[in-house]
Subunit: 493 residues, 2 copies
């Protein structure tokens, strides 16, 4: 069949029409993109307040005027964390659930009170309310903590530090900052008010980077999405001379490297009340542990899972309700993993279950070691006889605490967590082997006392809990209102 | 500008030419696909030999005539495994590297000889040559192993079983099968000769599936790509009455479930020569451990990493040079993981390093427990005094062996490996606590003997190695050639 010019012309027209339809659709798409861009631009161009008017704006609700979505989700941190199968109710009394920890921390404030951490919105109320900060001013009580304890609790900290320097902030009684530190963890803790860029506001991480030849100002955006978390969720210590907050990273960021650092500077957080062992208290080395696990190794950032992106109209933003990724699996795990919610949840639960299993062994053996050591001292043991056992207790408890205090590490770095716990068990039992010899040499019997509940354990280590709680109530009812009044008068609150 | 019909016609022609060019390219592609299909078809249609002519064709080279690519790569298993940073030279004498294992296996054949497994091509030569099979017939020596020991070494096993049944195969002296089992692990072990489908040829796995209500005939292709490996690379035991090979899965496939099974049937592989502890010898539970790790949980099969697909001309086939995936990262790990070879290798090495670290602790503490127990017996300890300690040794050694014998488990299931080792350490040290009490009660001193080399450790447990080695040489030079002659005469070889 031979085509006529007419037929060819018809074919041309059909193709032309199809092309035009496609171009029209592209036009619609372009219009939609432009509209979205306009919405984004309007957010940045029509800011309601100038956040950079003061050196550090610590009022979170002021930031909320400019960034309502982030602010609304941030406020939702008040609602408490996701209820995991292994991490119970809203205010979870860990000491009630695991009385062994009362014994392990005998002689340290954590034996009084330890509830599982809640959302950022609760930071100030928790700091004031915990028995760990004591009741300065009540019945003539003095401070038991330095100003350093406030460091990670509020955007008032960078505000105060900008005006007075960090050294002054740290080296004063905790209560003398009560009227200064009043807003819970919020915007200025992680953002630069002028550019809204992520910014590390606390000195310790920056200083540790400098000492180890790393330049934090060269951190990428993806690195900052972890580093703003790492500035607080990490192992630290207070330099004894001036309570200056330090990160112990000079020899590396593993449990062994940090122990070597502490051993070298002969640092000890407290001498154990029963065993007299010189104890290192691990302080949530979450970031260091995370770095060693699969997600950390593959360049995932804290915010990727704990602050997933949300979309509202033309706007994509980070969810500031920082919480367990298991509560929002479709926007967290499932952005990379294609398995079902149930499968993914159960994978995490199994890592947590295994973590609980072995840590329970470590805790129990370390508790037994402390109590055996106490019995040795009572039987007249000498320091020379006890030296090796106390070293084992220190090493074992450091490892147990390091793994457990790295909240989430049984999932973040499951093999590393188990490796560390295996050494905690090793050292706890090696201490017992030494202590058993000392007990027998002194002809002393050892029977485990009944420390099977929080109340029994606290009574055993000599804590007067009713008084501590009564005083805390009075402190909250009398001192704290004065702090708030003062803060309002000074225009801080 | 108004278009003329002539111009419209030109546009039509251009579009028409573009379409024709595209269609021509599609044609070329289709031709290439047809050609590939023809090449695949020619392989299956032009088979040179009929492999189904006998019930089980155990001659691997006959299969090789029909499937040359698979056969060529299978022959490459003779070249030995990839030299990993942590898994050294070709014939790796594990006892030389870790003399602790000599002590742990005192009273069991593994204390004589244990070299790291080599490729499938070596199966028969290794079985004949290892000191673990003894030297039946030399100087009047009897068999020390039953026929069962050959079970996973050769396609002659399904051939023999098809003719005589498995019960007869198992329940006879090892040496009486010497002239029957002559071809190394090969084609008929995993393939149906008629269909070339993957097929489980050994009874134990099928029987275990049946007992636990699973139907192995319903396994998917992807499951079979693990199950044909699992039929051998898995924990087993010989039923004491008739040496029937069994998989101990009736209560589950975890280290605790299998221990519970053995405890219930009061099974013991051997009584330890020094400590008298009733020991369970773990036999490479590779599949069970793999199932609990990330790759197993995500449905990856053994063959995905150990038998990657290769492409030659139009043919895609499985590489039968089964070995460490680290030797071929681009076709193994990198089919899913986008990271560099170096990054992936180092991730594996770190898991292996951590695994070696904690297993070394477990081994050392279990060795110490055995030697302390020996000292207790020598000091006159009673069975009642020793009971608890020996139970701890049994539990600890089972866990250590289970983790370590699951070749690759420090990578396949890193957290589970570490969890298990942590309990091995726990029980090893708890045994020592009990034994220390017994020693002191009997006024006995304990000093670690020098068992720091393979030779010293083997001398300590009373092995006459020069004689064993001399006899093995004679056995290999006199008995084995007769086996081969017989096999040739019978048309088996």
């Amino acid at each position: 069949m031979q085509e006529t010019p007419k037929k060819k012309s018809a074919l041309g027209w059909i193709l032309c029409l199809i092309s035009m339809a496609a171009v029209f659709c592209l036009g619609l798409l372009a219009a939609s993109i432009t509209e979205r861009k306009a919405e984004v631009a309007s957010i940045y161009n029509n800011k309601k307040v100038d956040l950079a008017a003061v050196p550090v704006e610590s009022k979170n609700d002021k930031w909320g005027l400019n960034y309502p979505r982030e602010f609304e989700t941030w406020k939702m941190t008040a609602k408490g964390d996701f209820k995991s199968k292994y991490h119970g109710n809203q205010i979870q009394d860990v000491l009630e659930e695991r009385p062994d920890m009362v014994i392990l921390w005998a002689g340290y404030a954590f034996s009084r009170d330890y509830t599982a951490p809640r959302g950022h919105m609760h930071a100030i109320e928790e700091m004031r309310g915990t028995l760990r900060t004591g009741n300065p001013g009540i019945g003539g009580a003095k401070d038991m903590q330095p100003g350093t304890c406030w460091t990670c609790k509020s955007p008032d900290v960078p505000r105060y530090m900008a005006a007075n320097g960090p050294a002054k902030f740290y080296n004063q009684p905790w209560s003398s900052l009560g009227a200064e530190i009043v807003h819970p963890i919020g915007c200025a803790d992680c953002h630069d008010a002028k550019t809204m860029n992520l910014a590390v506001s606390r000195p310790a991480l920056k200083e540790a980077f400098e000492r180890t030849g790393r330049d934090i100002s060269k951190a990428t955006q993806q690195e900052l999405r972890s580093l703003v978390c790492a500035q607080c969720h990490e192992e630290y210590y207070f330099r004894p001379a001036d309570k200056y907050l330090m990160f112990p990273f000079d020899k590396g960021q593993t449990v062994e490297a940090i122990e070597a650092y502490f051993d070298e500077i002969k640092f000890t957080d407290y001498v154990h009340k029963l065993s007299k062992a010189p104890i290192l208290k691990a302080q949530h080395p979450g970031w260091s542990m995370f770095l060693l696990g699969p997600h950390g190794q593959h360049g995932v950032a804290c915010a990727d899972c704990h602050m997933p992106y949300k979309s509202e109209g033309g706007i994509k933003y980070s969810d500031h309700q920082i919480m367990s990724p298991l509560a929002k699996i479709s926007s967290t795990c499932q952005t990379c993993h294609r398995e079902s919610e149930e499968f993914l949840k159960n994978r995490v639960y199994e890592y947590q279950r295994a973590g609980f299993e072995t840590r329970t062994v470590a805790e129990h053996e370390l508790v037994k070691a402390h109590l055996m050591a106490e019995a040795c001292w009572k039987a007249g043991a000498t320091e020379a006889e006890m030296e090796q056992a106390l070293k084992f207790i220190r090493s074992g408890q450091w490892r147990w605490d390091y793994a457990v205090a790295s909240h989430g590490a049984s999932f973040h770095a499951p093999a590393e967590y188990q490796r560390i716990i295996s050494h905690a068990i090793e050292f706890g039992l090696k201490a017992q082997l030494e202590l058993q010899k000392v007990l027998i040499a002194h002809n002393a019997d050892f029977h485990m006392p009944d420390v099977s509940t929080k109340a029994k354990a606290q009574a055993y280590i000599g804590l007067d809990m009713p008084k501590l709680e009564k005083d805390k109530k009075e402190f909250l009812n009398t001192i704290v209102p004065k702090w708030e009044e003062q803060a309002k008068k000074a225009g801080i609150l």
